[in-house]
């Protein structure tokens, strides 16, 4: 019985080498675990313990991470794991057949077929991830997984030519990244902007009415002013590139097209708020984009673009890249910060907000990729140019994506303030032949189900009558072959899987709602189930963070606008 486990000594050669490679702060644990998972021993208790003691953090912290992030908790070694996207777009594009096909091929092989939440490859659905490779348009007629992988087109990286009506502002520069021409674009505008001082940047953002484009729409100038106004020896600029929401591929597109834009935006942000350290948190499933950003950072650094002389003072800015490991919740800014600090991505209660107590409890500006790119483009082309792009009372552009039953699905940049009908008909090429519009899911997984009556409603951040919440700018168009309850169930499966599990309404509510929807769809539902859906929806609005509180949006809009579809299942 007697046991006195002494503190283990970190001495595993692999672990120590990885610590050397990825750094000694707990922030690196996530990368170390990813690397170790692919070694023979995997994430065994011994290895978990070694990592914990190598980083001087509790064993439960490392263990808790290993079972939290889906790239760590699921699948075997990545070379024998195929992660199939089960996001709503892929589901609509035949993910179920692909799944069955792959499972069949995997029989009696070492392969593991793992369902994975939206991979951010909606433009090439049905999509998959094999190691670092992003795969799209998976077929169902291969004779082996090897053949399937060999024959599958990798996701296209080049930005398609502009479609009719497209207004490129963020995406205006010819596709530029270090892999293609190796040269950072002309940086003069950065110097010009900085010479005018931080207040000029803040004024510009205010005049342009820039809003956060991660989905929440918080006024950007306000956030930047708050961070700029705080006295602190160290501040951080964190770019949220954890784009993991179904229907959202805009950040990936921006990074694929013009990674310099993002870094320019971070540099301006750092200069304006008084931070010298920038960190990009990119989702683990975006490895090609992560590499692209790394080489972009290298290029910027070696060209001296991160060190600038502004007036008489030197401004030097460091940018680091940090990879996630599969967790939608890390797109929530406080969860992202927790993850950056080497823990489970569990959102923090707010207040305090990251602007005052963010990364390592220091003032931190967290902005989405698209927001930072917008700021950079605005600084380059000027306010006048930006304000020229105007619809009704709204300036500037937005990166949209239209998927589903339209003729010309995909990503494009267009003015803000367009109506649903315009986006579907003018940009999405209208509904597919012989398709009848049934509903659209607008704004992402956390968006709303809308019906034909809302065809002429504008997409915007405001919640006023006659508008549809813009969210991430993604739109899923469904014809009558697709039901709202089924799509809602796909969304709930996503939320259930991606809930961090910390607060009661989200942890239990997402699970219970998904169970009810399953019951309804299998014909076992009852009237009280419908009532229960509403109650749980109410309860979810009490959640700790935005993941839980956004579930009622699709749920309630579905129940409100498509009630007959639910009742017909009883």
């Amino acid at each position: 019985m007697t046991r006195f486990p002494a503190a283990p000594i970190a001495q595993d050669a692999d672990v120590l080498a990885l610590r050397e490679q990825y750094g000694e702060t707990p922030s690196a644990i996530i990368e170390v675990l990813k690397a170790l998972k692919n070694k023979e021993e995997g994430l065994s208790p011994r290895i978990i313990c070694q990592v914990a003691y190598a980083y001087k953090v509790p064993e439960h912290q490392v263990s808790g991470m290993a079972s939290f992030y889906s790239l760590l908790s699921t699948g075997g070694t990545e070379d024998q794991t195929l992660r199939l996207c089960d996001g709503v777009v892929c589901e609509m594009a035949g993910a179920e057949e692909v799944r069955q096909h792959c499972r069949h091929l995997a029989q009696e092989t070492e392969w593991e077929i793992v369902p994975h939440s939206c991979l951010g490859l909606c433009d090439v659905a049905p999509a998959a991830l094999h190691g670092d490779r992003q795969l799209g348009k998976l077929s169902t007629n291969s004779s082996s997984l090897e053949e399937l992988l060999a024959g599958t087109q990798t996701r296209p990286t080049a930005l398609p030519t502009a479609r009719s009506g497209e207004t490129r502002f963020l995406l205006r520069r010819p596709t530029s990244h270090p892999e293609s021409d190796g040269q950072p674009p002309d940086p003069d505008f950065l110097d010009n902007m900085m010479q005018r001082g931080p207040q000029a940047v803040l004024d510009l953002l205010e005049q342009a009415e820039i809003r956060g484009l991660g989905g929440a729409g918080y006024p950007t100038s306000l956030k930047w002013s708050q961070v700029a106004g705080l006295e602190s020896e160290q501040k951080y600029v964190v770019c949220n590139a954890d784009e993991s929401e179904p229907l959202s591929v805009k950040d990936r597109t921006l990074i694929d097209s013009d990674p310099f834009r993002l870094l320019e935006g971070m540099l301006i942000a750092g200069w304006t708020v008084g931070a010298t350290q920038g960190i990009i948190y990119i989702r683990g499933e975006y490895e090609p984009q992560a590499r692209r950003l790394e080489s972009t950072i290298r290029a910027m650094r070696s060209e001296g673009r991160l060190n600038r002389k502004v007036g008489d003072t030197e401004f030097s800015f460091e940018i680091e890249l940090h990879r996630g490991a599969g967790a939608y919740i890390c797109g929530e800014e406080t969860a992202l910060l927790e993850s950056l600090e080497g823990r489970r991505g569990e959102p923090r209660p707010r207040p305090p907000y990251p602007v005052s107590q963010g990364l390592h409890q220091l003032p931190t500006l967290v902005n989405n990729v698209e927001t930072l790119c917008t700021v950079a483009a605005l600084c380059q082309y000027g306010l006048e140019e930006y304000q020229k792009i105007q619809t009704e009372a709204l300036f500037g552009t937005k990166i949209y994506a239209v998927f589903g039953a339209v003729n010309n699905p995909g990503v494009f940049e267009a003015p803000r303030g367009l109506t649903l009908g315009e986006l579907i008909d003018e940009f999405g090429g209208g509904l597919q032949p012989e398709s009848e519009f049934s509903f659209a899911l607008v704004g992402g997984a956390a968006g709303q189900f809308v019906n034909a009556e809302q065809w002429k409603h504008r997409l915007d951040f405001s919640h006023s009558e006659g508008t549809i919440p813009l969210g991430t700018g993604g739109i899923l168009v469904a014809d009558t072959s697709r039901s709202v309850p089924a799509t809602l169930r796909d969304l709930l499966r996503f939320f259930e899987r991606e809930s961090c599990g910390q607060c009661v309404p989200c942890r239990v509510g997402t699970h219970e709602i998904r169970l009810i929807l399953d019951r309804l769809l299998s014909g076992d539902g009852t009237k009280s189930d419908l009532r229960r859906l509403e109650e749980y929806g109410d309860s979810l609005s009490l959640s700790l963070c935005g993941l839980g509180t956004s579930v009622p949006s699709p749920l309630q809009s579905a129940l409100e606008r498509f009630r007959p579809q639910f009742e017909s299942l009883l």
Binding site: T2, F4, P5, A7, P58, P349, Q502, C503, H511, D538
Partner: protein, 926 residues
């Protein structure tokens, strides 16, 4: 200071800005339901039960995390909130099966209370198979049933933020989220210390105490002071049908420990009702038959007798020895486990009634070198600062020779948290890789017995960096020049050679001490139990004077006292050279003071002599040489705890008459002639003085077991009977022995002991924090000593040179054995080996051996090994561990007979303090 005004349920409230709505509501007397929240823990806002409505906000906010703002209007109860809360509770209930939480009686769990309050109904689908095994962990103290868990993470936070052991964690996510220990292993494997904090904070019955199941009806809880170590934690003894059935945390804020307890404090209580308890006085048959036992022959059989007979025999024999051979043929061992009042009585019994200063106790074996060393340097030999002060204010911690997290566990957790939450640099100097080294900025792994060289070496480097505090040295200290000359003989290369510590580490440590002021120096037996014990202590005093770290919050010299009342036993004069309050026997005025106070009739001659008496080790030797004939022992166990116990056994066999007042038949009782059954701390009242000089009450929770008597009553009875048969009557103002209760004794103590002058039971019962000196009834006590001036005036530097330990490893005995304790046991183990859980979790004597040595000798973990020194043999189990370096072994003295490491230890003494060198002897493995 600005104040935030708001209304809660239309009541106007003004609170400090930054408070949460929940805190404001609590201050107003408005209760908001909570589950994941606890005031001691970081709020997480996870259960959402504390949602309240705030005007202007669309959705309710969590009161536990939302700060108040001016003019905020808060509503804590509404129909919609009730509906929300009911559903939230039902959601929690849907995640498991809560039969134990909801169906077991009083006191109701927090979850059960809110479920009842909001009339939440468990889901009908609860017949689903259990998600987790019931009783899933083999921990002997903590029962785990995760089916009753609501994932509030209070256990996780309690372990992280209170205990600092980081055992519990959260696994997976979403609906699969659950609580795990370590990397999903069992608690002990995850390095759980079984402190029970997680159980204490659990709002359901997912975590419960095995020894006190939740369905046990507790009749009352009595707040008292823990009787294990010197930290002096406050705890509740839970009583059911006049039995102690559990220990719980005290719910009000307690300055020593808040709700924290250690494994012994929380779970080591069942010895109280152990079947071995002595419940009748016993005497040897030959005494009843009035036969003389021939010397060196074994004692006869025990006979149970009534109290009158036992006490008559004791008094007759002791009076006879006094008359025949003089007072100094008697010796008295008082007890650091007994109360201040009892210690006072024992030394009064020795000095007044029997006329000898031969009274001592086990402080001789633990901190006599501290008392002597600090008295020489500062004039007063106790911990200068307070535990909370160190935890909150120290800028650096230097722990040398103290395994704090195992020996003073609750203070150990405070140190861990100082490191964890305040980033205080911690330097640990210890030959072993003790638990604290894991939290340390630096671990200096010195060779045993090289502390003077180490400390001199650090001071050399501090001087080199000119980090000495010159104004402090000039104004408050003396003898600096001579000291500095000596320190200059200790350059790092020499010190590294002597101590085995790399030069770079010495420099780093000196750098921390130079830059982070004040540093608190903390030590225990690793410093004191050496032949150079006094020098070691004086070296640490030198260091703190050099750095100017004395008399300030967060600094000081902080010897951690081992036994619960070792401080008090010293304070009350259970020492051969001092009366209560360290009033010197050698000082004629003091002798006169006590002569007058304790005056007896027919005593024209002085009550006692002019020369200090003998120490513990000298008394034992004296019994062996027949210089002494009789020994009275109150609650000590020298056969377990003295060094070289074979020698002790020989001496006690020879002893003519030995009285032992005890709760159990101990190892020492084999050598006793009379056994007097005393009581445990649960059965009587008194005060203990803890390590930071705090005088605290312990309260009687149950009546003394039948046949036993409170120890102070026994001593009083012996004194009365002895005086009567000596035909002497009390005449001095404090000569009498008519105490009705312990507070009468405290009144006498206060009258005669300047440090305790202002102490009385009234103040203690009112909850006053009294740390001596308490100079009068209006004096608030002294949390920090030596502020502005040292007790002796100027602090004295001592020039000290390194001296090697007495015994060196050689070819015949190639290992160094060092000794100490383990967290689960207490000293000789008389109490803890009789506590079922503690005995189960640590059931065998262990000797730590390095993996290198174990491999070389072919010893596996758990193997039985025999270890021999020049004095004896130890049989133990090998614990192969990196905690010790090659060439070093570590053993404990918790198990009796040949399993006791004190069969090996050497009785070489420090020349001044007479403390034995427990920490170093040479041994071989057979």
């Amino acid at each position: 200071m600005t104040i935030t005004s708001l209304t809660i349920n239309q009541i106007e409230v003004s609170v400090q800005p930054g408070q949460t709505i929940l805190e404001a509501a609590e201050a107003t007397g408005v209760e908001i339901p909570t589950l994941c929240h606890h005031r001691d823990l970081t709020p997480v806002g996870a259960c959402r039960l504390c949602l309240v409505e705030v005007s202007g906000r669309n959705t309710p906010v969590a009161a536990c995390t939302e700060p108040v703002t001016d003019n905020m209007k808060v509503c804590t109860e509404s129909e919609s909130l009730t509906r929300h809360r009911r559903l939230l509770l039902e959601m929690m209930l849907s995640e498991g099966t809560f039969s134990e939480t909801l169906e077991t009686g009083q006191p109701e769990t927090e979850l059960a209370r809110w479920v009842r309050h909001y009339q939440a109904t468990p889901p009908t689908s609860a017949e689903t198979p259990l998600r987790f095994p019931v009783d899933s962990d083999p921990n002997p103290f903590i029962r785990v049933n995760m089916n009753e868990c609501i994932r509030c993470t209070r256990c996780v936070r309690a372990c992280d933020e209170i205990q600092g052991r980081f055992v519990w964690g959260v696994a997976e996510r979403g609906h699969e989220t659950h609580i795990i220990a370590g990397d999903d292993t069992d608690l002990l494997d995850a390095r759980c210390e079984s402190c029970g904090a997680c159980v204490d904070y659990c709002p359901t019955n997912a975590l419960t105490n095995r020894m006190s199941p939740p369905d046990l009806a507790v009749d009352r809880s009595v707040q008292t002071t823990c009787a294990y170590c010197g930290v002096g934690c406050q705890l509740n003894l839970d009583v059911s049908q006049e039995k102690i059935v559990g220990v719980s945390s005290v719910d009000s804020e307690v300055s020593v420990n808040d709700r924290a307890l250690c494994v012994k404090g929380r779970y080591g209580f069942d010895f109280i009702h152990h079947a071995d308890r002595l419940t009748s006085p016993r005497v040897r048959r030959e005494l009843l038959e009035d036969r003389q036992r021939p010397a060196e022959t074994p004692r006869g059989e025990w006979v149970d007798v009534d109290w009158e007979t036992a006490l008559r025999i004791v008094v007759q024999k002791m009076n006879a020895i006094r008359t025949e051979s003089g007072s100094d043929a008697l010796g008295f061992f008082s007890s650091a486990k007994c109360s201040n009042e009892e210690n006072y009585l024992v030394q009064k019994l020795a000095r007044q009634v029997f006329g000898t200063h031969n009274v001592d106790h086990c402080a001789r074996l633990c901190h006599s070198s501290t008392v002597a060393g600090l008295a020489a340097a500062f004039g007063s030999g106790a911990m200068s600062n307070s535990m909370d002060d160190i935890a909150h204010s120290a800028e650096a911690l230097f722990v040398i020779g103290s395994n704090t997290t195992e020996q003073h566990p609750v203070f150990g957790t405070m140190l861990r948290q100082a490191v964890h939450q305040r980033n205080v640099p911690l330097i640990v100097a210890d030959p072993r890789r003790i638990d604290l080294t894991e939290f340390a900025t630096l671990h200096l792994r010195q060779k045993p017995g090289t502390d003077v060289a180490l400390i001199n070496g650090l001071m050399y480097l501090i001087l080199e960096q000119s980090a000495e505090e010159n104004s402090f040295i000039e104004n408050r200290c003396e003898n600096y020049e001579a000291f500095r000359e000596t320190v200059r003989q200790y350059p790092p290369e020499r010190v590294s050679e002597i101590t085995g510590i790399p030069e770079a580490d010495l420099r780093a440590a000196a750098g921390i001490l130079s830059q982070c002021k004040p540093a608190a120096v903390i030590w225990a037996m690793g410093i004191t139990q050496h032949t150079t014990g006094v020098m070691n202590v004086m070296s640490l005093a030198n260091l703190q004077m050099l750095l100017g770290n004395m008399g300030v919050p967060g600094g000081g010299v902080n010897p951690l006292r081992g036994q619960n009342n070792v401080q008090g036993a010293c304070d009350l004069g259970a020492l051969p050279n001092v009366f209560p309050g360290y009033q010197q026997v050698a000082d004629a005025t003091m002798r006169e003071k006590f002569q007058k106070a304790w005056q007896l009739s027919a005593a024209s001659a002085p009550l006692f002599g002019e020369i200090p008496g003998l120490t513990v080790t000298e008394i034992v030797d004296g019994l062996g040489t027949k210089k002494l004939r009789g020994l009275y022992i109150l609650g000590e166990n020298p056969v377990m705890s003295d060094p070289n116990v074979n020698h002790v056994r020989d001496c006690l066999t020879t002893a003519e008459f030995l009285v032992l007042q005890e709760i159990f038949p101990s190892e020492t009782s084999h050598y006793a002639d009379v056994l007097l059954p005393g009581t445990t701390f649960a059965e009587r009242t008194g005060t203990f003085t803890n390590t930071d000089r705090r005088i605290q009450l312990f309260h009687q929770a149950i009546a003394p077991l039948p046949g036993t008597r409170p120890d102070w009553e026994i001593i009083q009875e012996i004194a009365r009977l002895a005086l009567k048969s000596q035909q002497r009557n009390p005449e001095g103002p404090y000569a009498d022995w008519r105490y009705k209760s312990p507070d009468d004794i405290m009144a006498e103590i206060a009258a005669l002991t300047p440090q305790y002058a202002g102490v009385n039971y009234e103040r203690l019962k009112a909850g006053e924090r009294l740390q001596w000196p308490v100079k009068n009834e209006d004096h608030p006590g002294t949390p920090i000593l030596h502020v502005g001036e040292f007790t002796r005036g100027k602090g004295r530097f001592h020039a000290l040179d390194h001296l090697p330990p007495q015994e060196h490893p050689d070819e015949e005995y190639p290992f160094v054995m060092t000794t100490g304790r383990v967290i689960y046991h207490w000293h000789g183990g008389e109490m803890t080996r009789r506590s079922a859980g503690l005995a189960a979790v640590c059931d065998a004597p262990l000797v730590e051996i390095s993996p290198e040595d174990a491999q070389r000798l072919g010893i596996g973990n758990g193997d039985s090994i025999r270890i021999r020194s020049r004095r004896g043999l130890l049989e133990a189990n090998a614990a192969v561990t990196e905690r010790v370096s090659p060439g070093l072994l570590f053993g404990n003295f918790h198990f009796p007979g040949t399993h006791n490491v004190n069969n090996l230890t050497i009785d070489a003494l420090d020349p001044t303090a007479k403390i034995p060198e427990y920490k170093v002897c040479a041994v071989r493995i057979e």
